[in-house]
């Protein structure tokens, strides 16, 4: 009976911790969405609001820390319970970083909004769209404790990298065409870098979720070359040639 009570109460506190993480995630998502909207609309005021909004995420991270430390000290959880608390701590740290990157994007946006519009901004927004989906899905995966969904998020990182490469080339062409665009292009390059880092952090969160659910680190090789449908095609090729 007493045992039951303690267990229940641990779960309740863990639930509280998860609620704060979800809330942090919501803020990080909104910060990213708004920084990109400001970028596309060249809205410096909106960007300034995003830059200022970062403090809320920081405050929530401190809340997660104090809740987690309390849980660790008072309950001394082991095994799966310990993993849950550690994952929460790690994920909140990563979300805070994502918030920081959104703030950086917003700051660059303030500068960019003073410069003439740039076509490659749309590619940046596209890249951000993929990262937004990754962040949404990884938060959903965390909340639902869904390791497969988390693995799907890790698979999308290649897409972000490919977009980044393509954007880099696009920006280089722009800079070579017109040296007056170099400053704006440089800002956009850094914006893209920040977005790419957010994608990396979404991937890191996905690894934490996988570890949290499965109790072991994900195997990497299988994910990196996921060309399952191509293998099927290759099998068929000899018959053709």
């Amino acid at each position: 009976m007493a045992q039951d009570h303690i267990v229940k109460s641990f779960d309740e506190e863990l639930e509280k911790l998860n609620n704060v993480i979800a809330q942090m995630g919501g803020l990080a998502e909104a910060q990213l969405a708004e920084s990109i909207e400001a970028l596309v609309r060249r809205d410096g005021d909106m960007a300034a609001l995003v830059a200022a909004g970062d403090k809320q995420i920081d405050a929530l991270e401190r809340k997660v820390e104090s809740l987690a430390v309390r849980l660790l000290v008072l309950r001394q959880p082991v095994a799966a319970d310990l993993r849950s608390v550690l994952a929460a701590l790690k994920i909140s740290g990563l979300l805070e970083r994502i918030g920081d990157y959104a703030k950086n994007v917003a700051k660059r946006t303030i500068a960019l909004s003073q410069m003439p519009p740039m076509e490659p901004t749309h590619t940046v927004a596209r890249m951000a769209g993929v990262v937004q989906e990754m962040i949404k899905n990884v938060l959903d995966a965390y909340i639902a404790r869904d390791a497969e969904k988390a693995d799907d998020v890790r698979r999308r990182d290649v897409e972000v990298d490919a977009l980044n490469t393509s954007l880099f080339r696009e920006l280089l062409t722009y800079m070579m065409e017109d040296s007056k665009k170099i400053t704006a292009c440089t800002h956009l390059l850094f914006v893209a870098k920040n977005i790419e880092r957010m994608g990396d952090h979404a991937t890191n969160i996905a690894e934490s979720v996988h570890y949290l659910v499965r109790g072991e680190n994900p195997e990497d090789e299988r994910l990196k070359n996921d060309t399952s449908s191509l293998t099927v095609m290759d099998d068929n090729i000899p018959e053709q040639e």
């Binding site: 639930e15 998860n18 609620n19 979800a22 809330q23 995630g25 919501g26 803020l27 998502e29 909104a30 969405a33 909207e37 809320q56 749309h122 590619t123 596209r126 769209g129 993929v130 937004q132 989906e133 949404k136 899905n137 938060l139 909340i143 869904d146 497969e148 969904k149 799907d152 998020v153 698979r155 290649v158 897409e159 490919a162 977009l163 490469t165 393509s166 080339r169 060309t227 449908s229 191509l230 099927v232 095609m233 290759d234 068929n236 090729i237 053709q240």
Partner: protein, 426 residues
């Protein structure tokens, strides 16, 4: 509209019949008026919530009010209660911000298992949480606007309304998200359409004008040049009309992208028809289109015309960019889970053996007008909108498009679609 007048429904004494009538009026209003006046919508909501609370107090066994049932029922598309018949998501929230009940639309949009947990677990947008928190802290009502960017951009007007005089365990806040997607984005889509059309039509039009000038001037009496120019002019004009047609169909898809189509579609028949339609084109390049669909393939949820368009565009590309004399394969299989959404579905792969696509181009192919080799695509009559249309249709179906390619070997475009819900069963 910060304070809502006449909160008399909260006591839960309005008979169910009134609420049902309310729902009927609400539906009619939505259909005829397009968008409801917020005041009217709140008044209707009042009736509905009253009806719901009536229901709710009658069946107040822990967890049964839309909770235990929801997982099962969210998969059925038949609205089961008045509450579920409402097109907008409606959520009832208790004093600890826990979700006490959520209608079908809310469960479908956010999380089928949202009942019982903190609202943040299913709907974590900071603006929504701050509205709800404000009302929980005593404010009578709060309104705001939010945009949810993924998977399909949607905008909502958020109404959080406090329920006073309720029993301790009863809901404290009614949260309604009024869908504003059409109203907010229609303008943008029109603007995009005009910008795209005028930009893309500029160069073919300039070419036409140039040819006309030449025909009226230096080439006036040159019969051979005249025929030649007229041929070019004809193909440019045809391209312009294709472009307008493609842009229109893209806009049509975009306008409804937030509305997921759910008719059961038999892909076997559909894919065979697509292969037939394009067989002439394939034969011209000495190619063959093979279709492989298992007998047992379940129907998918969708819009048959739009799905035809998806596969026509993909197979058209495979034929256009595949090697002459090679085969194009269309293969459909049933799968346990669609990547990311995790639901059951069908995967349709369209494979070609062609030059393949370099990796850094892959995520950009679905951008409108994006072409790897502009001249080549133009020479085969492309507008560069095919894959953009595919992407938007697949999004509308809440499916996924995956592109794998190996340079020098070929490409596979895989479309994942959700299985149709059989009404009645389960």
């Amino acid at each position: 509209m910060e304070t809502v007048p006449g909160r008399t429904w909260a006591a839960g004494t309005v008979p169910h019949a009134v609420a049902t009538a309310g729902a009927a009026v609400a539906m009619a209003g939505l259909v005829s008026g397009g968008l409801m006046d917020p005041l009217a919508s709140l008044a209707l909501l009042a009736l509905l919530v009253a009806g719901y609370l009536w229901d709710w107090s009658a069946r107040r066994v822990a967890g049964t009010a839309g909770g235990a049932r929801s997982a099962e029922e969210s998969s059925a598309s038949v609205p089961l209660t008045v509450f579920d018949a409402l097109p907008d998501p409606v959520i009832l929230i208790g004093k600890g911000r826990e979700v006490q009940a959520a209608n079908l639309s809310a469960r479908e949009l956010f999380d089928p298992k949202m009942v019982g947990a903190d609202l943040a677990m299913s709907l974590r947008h900071p603006e929504v949480l701050s509205c709800v928190d404000a009302v929980l802290n005593g404010q009578p009502a709060k309104r705001s606007q939010i945009a949810l960017p993924v998977p399909v951009r949607r905008s909502f007007e958020v109404h959080a309304v406090g329920l006073a005089d309720a029993k301790t365990a009863a809901p404290r806040v009614v949260l309604v998200l009024h869908d504003m997607t059409l109203a907010t984005h229609a303008q943008q889509m029109r603007a995009d359409f005009i910008a795209n059309a005028s930009h893309e039509l500029r160069s073919p039009l300039a070419a036409l004008v140039g040819f006309i000038e030449t025909l009226k001037g230096p080439a006036r009496d040159d019969a051979a040049a005249r025929d030649h120019f007229l041929d070019i002019m004809q193909s440019e004009a045809e391209r312009m009309s294709r472009l307008i047609g493609d842009l229109l169909s893209l806009t049509r898809v975009e306008v409804n992208e937030h509305v997921q189509p759910r008719e059961p579609v038999d892909l076997g028949t559909l894919l065979c028809t697509v292969a037939e339609v394009l067989s002439g084109q394939a034969r011209a390049r000495n190619m063959e289109i093979r279709v492989s669909v298992p007998e047992t393939l379940p129907a998918v949820a969708g819009d048959a015309d739009q799905l035809s368009q998806v596969f026509q565009n993909l197979v058209d590309n495979a034929v256009k960019y595949g090697r002459e004399g090679s085969a194009v394969e269309i293969e459909a299989i049933e799968i346990e889970r669609i990547p990311e959404s995790g639901v059951r579905g069908v995967a349709v792969a369209v494979r070609d053996r062609g030059e393949g696509i370099p990796a850094e181009h892959i995520p950009r192919l679905t951008e409108r007008f994006y072409r790897i080799d502009k001249a080549r695509s133009r020479s085969v009559g492309g507008t560069g909108l095919g894959l953009a249309i595919v992407k938007h249709i697949v999004n509308r179906h809440r499916g996924r498009l995956k592109v794998d390619s190996v340079v020098g070997r070929g490409s596979v475009f895989t479309v994942y679609l959700r299985t149709a819900q059989r009404s009645g069963s389960k």
